[in-house]
């Protein structure tokens, strides 16, 4: 059982990455969604329960920063975590490439749904532009997830060797 301190540490690290690091590694409007990547990876690795509640906590934190979209990030990120856990139960994705592909799919769905819910008319009128923007953001998010998974895998291998 992971102690609560580690939950807090994970929350702090992910929110730090989202608020402080992401804008600094952005390419124009395209920046990685650290929160979604973390929630999907938690769902894929630890199951739907942790995916759901980590998603809820991270989403709620992000919502607190933006009163205009209050609640929407919470619900969408929670569902992303839950469904990532569901995918884990149905299809066992052990390879980091499959896992980052799953992050890409979830990130794309999240981006499109978030924009559709918040700006429906703008979304319909500028669909192609928003779609391409979402694809690039999702790709960047998946790339960051792949990098994180690679680092974690190397760490695990090192531990096994020692």
């Amino acid at each position: 059982m992971i102690p609560y301190f580690y939950y807090f540490l994970a929350w702090f690290f992910v929110i730090f990455c989202q608020i402080v690091v992401s804008p600094r590694i952005a390419f124009g409007d395209i920046y990685p969604d650290a929160v979604l990547a973390a929630v999907v990876l938690i769902g894929l690795k630890r199951g739907w329960k942790r995916g759901l509640w980590f998603g809820f906590a991270f989403g709620l934190t992000m919502d607190l920063l933006n009163p205009q979209n209050y609640g929407w990030t919470t619900v969408l990120v929670s569902f992303s975590g839950y469904y990532a856990g569901y995918v884990r139960e149905k299809i066992f994705l052990d390879h980091i490439l499959y896992q980052s592909l799953a992050v890409f799919a979830f990130a794309l769905a999240y981006q499109l749904l978030f924009q559709l819910i918040n700006w429906p008319f703008y979304f319909i009128n500028n669909f192609i532009q928003l779609l391409s923007n979402s694809v690039f953001t999702s790709l960047y998010t998946a790339a960051i997830a792949l990098f994180a998974l690679f680092i974690l895998n190397q760490r695990s291998r090192l531990r096994e060797l020692l």
């Binding site: 929110i15 730090f16 608020i19 402080v20 804008p23 600094r24 739907w48 329960k49 759901l52 509640w53 998603g55 809820f56 989403g59 709620l60 934190t61 919502d63 607190l64 920063l65 933006n66 009163p67 205009q68 209050y70 609640g71 929407w72 919470t74 619900v75 929670s78 569902f79 839950y82």
Partner: protein, 265 residues
């Protein structure tokens, strides 16, 4: 139907998802002022460290940017200042020369020094004015501080000026207060010499040496330098007089060539 609904309700996944969804919907349904208040409180409490770190990094970013901008500006201003100072010195020099020009009764042609002779002690200089400005051979070259030398050759747009420190350059001179006459020449060492002054004449240290006008090239009354030392060796008939020239030859930038003297050739 009832049984299946109860089954779904008892499913822990469904219950937890429902709780998360209901809380989210409640948040969505909150009035906007309440959302704003909650956001404000949150950004001053749980999100405070992140917001502060973000602000701090933004400050560092902007400090770097400002620093880069200021360095660029500093470089530009340093260059500008250097140019301004150079213009200021040139302005001062030209003003001084203009005053000098108006003071003398001779016709003067200004010229800039464009080259020094490549010897250890400068003995001749090249100026950027020549025959096209009426400058020919054997014309006196002067500066506001005193006699510089004389032209020894002239081309269309340039001329060579032989300096007083060249041993071949000699100027008929006199001591301003005692009117004793002699010849200014360079005989080696740090200073010019006033030669052919009889030992029985009175010579005072600090006396001004001016051109006498007897040599045929330099007009009368041009300042050459000051007496700094006098000696008479035993059995000698003439003084050995050291003169410090009024002109600093290593700092020459602009000079005048005397092209015509009233009443002269």
């Amino acid at each position: 139907m009832w049984v299946s609904l109860r089954g779904i309700y008892r499913n822990p996944g469904f219950r937890q998802v429902s709780i998360a969804t209901i809380v989210s919907i409640l948040l969505i349904a909150l009035p906007y002022p309440v959302k704003t208040t909650i956001s404000r409180i949150a950004s001053h409490s749980i999100l405070y460290p992140f917001v502060e770190i973000d602000r701090f990094l933004l400050k560092i970013d902007s400090t770097f940017e400002i620093n880069r901008h200021l360095n660029r500006r500093l470089d530009f201003l340093a260059t500008t200042l250097s140019t301004v100072m150079e213009n200021r010195y040139e302005n001062e020099r030209l003003r001084k020369m203009l005053g000098f020009d108006l003071m003398l009764p001779y016709e003067l042609k200004p010229a800039e020094v464009i080259a020094y002779s490549p010897t250890a002690r400068f003995k001749s200089i090249l100026i950027n004015a020549g025959m096209e400005k009426g400058i020919f051979k054997d014309m006196p070259a002067i500066s506001p501080s005193g006699v510089v030398g004389k032209t020894v050759s002239a081309e269309s747009y340039s001329a060579v000026v032989q300096l007083l420190f060249d041993p071949a350059c000699k100027v008929a001179a006199r001591l301003q207060s005692s009117r004793t006459q002699g010849i200014v020449a360079y005989l080696g060492g740090r200073y010019l010499s006033l030669t052919n002054v009889p030992a029985d004449q009175s010579v005072a240290v600090g006396d001004s040496v001016i051109s006498s006008g007897l040599g045929g090239i330099f007009p009368e009354g041009l300042f050459i330098g000051r007496v700094i030392d006098t000696r008479v060796k035993e059995g000698e008939m003439f003084y050995e007089i050291d003169i410090e020239p009024g002109t600093n030859f290593s700092l020459l930038e602009e000079i005048f060539i005397v092209t015509s003297i009233p009443g002269g050739n």
